[in-house]
């Protein structure tokens, strides 16, 4: 075994690893990237956006509807807004601790044919003073951003 051959082996292994990793990564990224959309982008999109995406904005004040107490259902309906446009959302599950009207949230899921967004997962931020950057940007784009929003209290 000469030094040259050993180097060749290591180089070969390295390239093999690199190739595998690149292939895996490209394959992984192709299917598993979730795009972020604001309500305005959803409404203005030509045709319904297909597949899963993340919808972000503020929970519209007064929009949370829980099922009647005797229905024994977990389905919650509310609307996500960037002030300019609004998308109705339906979610069955336990809402996160910091989910509140008027606060920024991100919903993970897909759009139903009737224009309702079915969320698989709702993310509220960990800190009430914090606005997800995507949501802040969406609000800025719709021209409804005001400086107190990100600061809270």
């Amino acid at each position: 075994m000469t030094r040259k051959r050993r180097r060749l082996y290591i180089l070969g292994l390295f390239l093999l690893g690199l190739g595998t990793a690149t292939a895996l990564t490209l394959y992984g990224l192709k299917d598993n990237v979730a795009f972020f959309r604001s309500p305005t982008e959803v409404i203005k999109a030509a045709g319904l956006p297909k597949g899963d995406f993340r919808l972000g904005g503020l929970v519209e004040i007064g929009s949370i509807e829980r099922p009647p107490a005797d229905a024994r259902s977990l389905e919650v309906r509310f609307r996500i807004t960037d002030i300019e446009s609004t998308v109705p959302v339906v979610y069955a599950g336990i809402l996160p601790d910091l989910f509140r009207e008027g606060q920024g949230v991100i919903a993970n899921g897909r759009l139903l044919p009737d224009g309702t967004f079915r969320a698989r997962e709702i993310l509220a931020k960990h800190d009430e003073n914090y606005m997800p950057p995507e949501v802040a940007e969406a609000l800025k784009k719709s021209g409804r951003w005001n400086e107190t929003m990100g600061k809270g209290k």
Binding site: Y27, G28, L29, V33, A69, L74, G93, I94, D97, L98
Partner: protein
């Protein structure tokens, strides 16, 4: 007055670090003993000053000095004592101070325990360590001063983020930082070696304990963080591939690779320049992690404050440290003499494979973590890369790693015999096959992936036991001889067996909990029974409970199996009036082979979300989420075993005795073969 002393100490520490970063380097190049000696006293003094500053801040937190802005924003008079103390690092400024404290601690440790190091190397290591210190002390002094005063002082503080008021998270940052920042020592050794242009087995031996210590504490720190996520976030999961989790995991992957390649550098004088590169990369990833977490470019609980000045400051440190060290590497590494050669099938070969797979895994995690930032910068599109990506890329890389890692220790240095190794592993192989068949019989053909996952766990744990049995020649020599061999095994051998075994335990936990978790989300009314994986959860209603600084709604589930009581679970939601925030307190009863896990949500009647109010109707329904998590405690047991392996290896005799240049190294100096 005391906060001002703290501030002053911090500035003094910066001044000392500046001296420590410059004079010893000059001393080392001129071989001037007195200048080199500056490094040692400098490192000790720097640590003293930073420790004083840290003590001052801690004092302000304990007595509740709300005239200090940092205390006013992150503490409160009603908060329990533990969280008054952990509040010190539960915010941006304080956590950076902890970062620097640990950095200085490692510098002081090298100064105190590095007596057997050659003076020029020690001087250079401490100087490089001080350069990192200068950067971060300047960062604190200029952008993140924890001692800033408020005038007028508020009567009370705004409380610590309730999510951080938790014992798991109180200790998570110190452990994580011990690991994260501990890699700085390895980095300093690598850069010092590049400056000297010399890497020999003795160098690898000096570096080893620092890498081991950092690796073990990093393992514990990550485990604590994941444990916290498991019971505090209430999602029943333990790892979410969150960018912040990844930020701590990437240095771990590279540190693990480094731990293995350093063995080759020490024993065989090979892979030297690669080992140096890994040492640089491990700390570079720690810095990148600090940047990602501290700059606020990521959305997470760790993003305490978003301030562009801080982000750019850390970015500059990052570019200087990584760019500088890599440039030095590119310039000096070619001058490192290549060491002993080996066949592809050999222990060195196995370590190379280990390194390639770990480095590739770290690269895929890196890509997935930074891809959203990259895409945002290039096209403005906002995306997020979630767990499916990481499961699709990371897991396939780990499978060959675990399969191969069992062979590694059974192969000889230089040239191994794969056939002989396989023959010795027949017990582990048989156990793995039994695991596959067993899982398929019990859970059906649909569990085929889980079956292979469990087989991998058995293979890993079994293989490490086989290796131990081989070492003591169990059943081949009389039992007394085996025992004697067992007692005589070096601690590093024990460490490896324990750590590899721990990985097997971890894999079993990770596979079983993701494959066979049972989840039920539903509305429960008092008196309702929920059946879950053979256990009956009886909901007894919810009551209000007052804590020191919160009001809780606390539910009660009585869990029985076949009519026999198993546990009483009290999941709760805590409302913290000062911050107007709610946290979920999951109730967990561990059976050691599984966890029973309950979370309570909002009462069905209330339209308002959050807040402490109990429903007026005592029979109101509550949203509840119940989990049966099989083998999930093994995840943390496994990681603790792994860290324990690192600690045992750390106590190995050869780390304590002076490390003269071994005969082997001198032999390797003459051209081999």
């Amino acid at each position: 007055m005391i906060p001002e002393i703290g501030h002053y100490a911090l500035v003094l520490a910066l001044a000392v670090a500046l001296v420590q970063a410059s004079l010893p380097l000059i001393g080392a190049s001129r071989n001037d003993a007195s200048l080199m000696e500056v490094a040692r006293s400098g490192a000790l003094a720097q640590f003293g000053f930073v420790a004083l500053a840290f003590a001052c801040l801690t004092q302000a937190y304990i007595v509740g000095d709300f005239s200090v802005r940092n205390v006013a924003e992150n503490s409160n008079s009603a908060i329990p004592f533990l969280y008054k103390v952990s509040g010190v690092w539960g915010n941006h400024e304080g956590s950076m101070l902890l970062w620097v404290l640990i950095l200085a601690l490692f510098g002081a440790a090298v100064a105190a325990f590095g007596r057997n190091l050659p003076p020029p190397l020690r001087a250079r290591v401490l100087a490089v360590q001080a350069m990192t210190g200068v950067a971060f002390l300047a960062f604190i002094v200029f952008t993140s001063n924890p001692f800033e005063r408020l005038n007028p002082a508020p009567l009370d503080g705004r409380d610590l983020n309730p999510l951080l008021q938790d014992p798991g998270l109180a200790f998570h940052p110190p452990f994580l930082y011990l690991g994260y920042v501990g890699l700085s020592t390895t980095f300093s050794f690598a850069v010092a070696a590049l400056i000297e242009g010399r890497v020999d087995p003795a160098w690898a031996r000096w570096v080893r304990p620092w890498t081991l210590g950092a690796w073990a504490t990093l393992t514990l720190g990550i485990a604590l963080g994941s444990w916290w996520a498991y019971y505090e976030l209430g999602w029943g999961g333990w790892w979410f591939w969150d960018p912040v989790e990844n930020a701590s995991f990437m240095p771990w992957l590279v540190a693990t690779a480094l731990l293995h390649s350093a063995i080759v550098a020490e024993k065989r004088d090979a892979l030297k320049s690669w080992t140096i590169l890994l040492a640089i990369l491990a700390f570079a990833l720690s810095l990148i992690g600090t940047f990602l977490v501290r700059s606020g470019v990521l959305t997470s609980v760790h993003a305490f404050a978003v301030d562009p000045a801080r982000g750019s400051f850390i970015l500059v440190i990052l570019v200087l440290a990584i760019g500088g060290s890599l440039a030095l590497y590119a310039w000096r590494a070619p001058s490192l003499r290549p060491g002993g050669i080996f066949a592809p099938v050999s222990r060195e070969g196995a370590m190379v494979l280990n390194n390639l797979l770990l480095a590739t895994a770290a690269a895929t995690v890196f890509l997935g973590t930074l891809y959203p930032l990259f895409l945002d910068a290039v096209s403005g599109a906002k995306v997020s890369v979630g767990p499916p990506f990481f499961n699709a890329t990371f897991v396939p890389l780990m499978v060959p790693l675990v399969v191969a890692m069992v062979f590694g220790p059974l192969l000889a240095w230089k040239r191994g015999n794969l056939k002989a190794a396989t023959a010795r592993l027949w017990v582990a192989l048989a156990a793995s096959v039994i695991a596959i068949v067993g899982v398929l019989v019990v859970y059906g053909v649909s569990s085929v992936l889980a079956a292979f996952g469990m087989a991998l766990a058995v293979w890993c744990a079994g293989g490490s036991l086989v290796e131990l049995a081989e070492r003591i020649r169990l059943f081949r020599v009389p039992p007394a001889d085996s025992l004697q061999r067992l007692a005589g095994l070096p601690r590093s051998a024990w460490g490896m067996t324990i750590a590899h075994f721990g990985l097997g335990v971890f894999i079993a936990g990770a596979v079983a909990s993701s494959a066979w978790q049972v989840e039920k989300v539903q509305i429960v009314q008092p008196g309702d029974k929920v059946e879950l994986a053979g256990y009956t959860f009886l909901f007894k209603g919810a009551v209000e409970e007052r804590g020191p600084n919160y009001i809780a709604r606390r539910g009660t589930f009585e869990v029985t199996k076949d009519g026999k009581p198993v546990a009483t679970l009290h999941p709760a939601k805590r409302f913290f009036p000062v911050q107007r925030t709610t946290t979920t307190e999951a109730a967990i009863h561990t059976l050691w082979i599984a966890d029973l896990y309950a979370v309570i949500g909002d009462p069905q009647e209330s339209q308002q979300v959050g807040g402490p109010a109990l429903p007026t109707d005592p029979n109101a329904g509550w949203a509840a989420r119940l989990y049966y998590n099989p083998l999930i405690p093994w995840i943390w047991i496994g990681t603790i075993i792994m860290a324990l392996g690192g600690a045992v290896s750390l106590t190995d005799r050869r780390h304590r005795v002076g490390a003269p240049v071994p005969a082997q190294a001198r032999a390797a100096a003459s051209p081999a073969e």
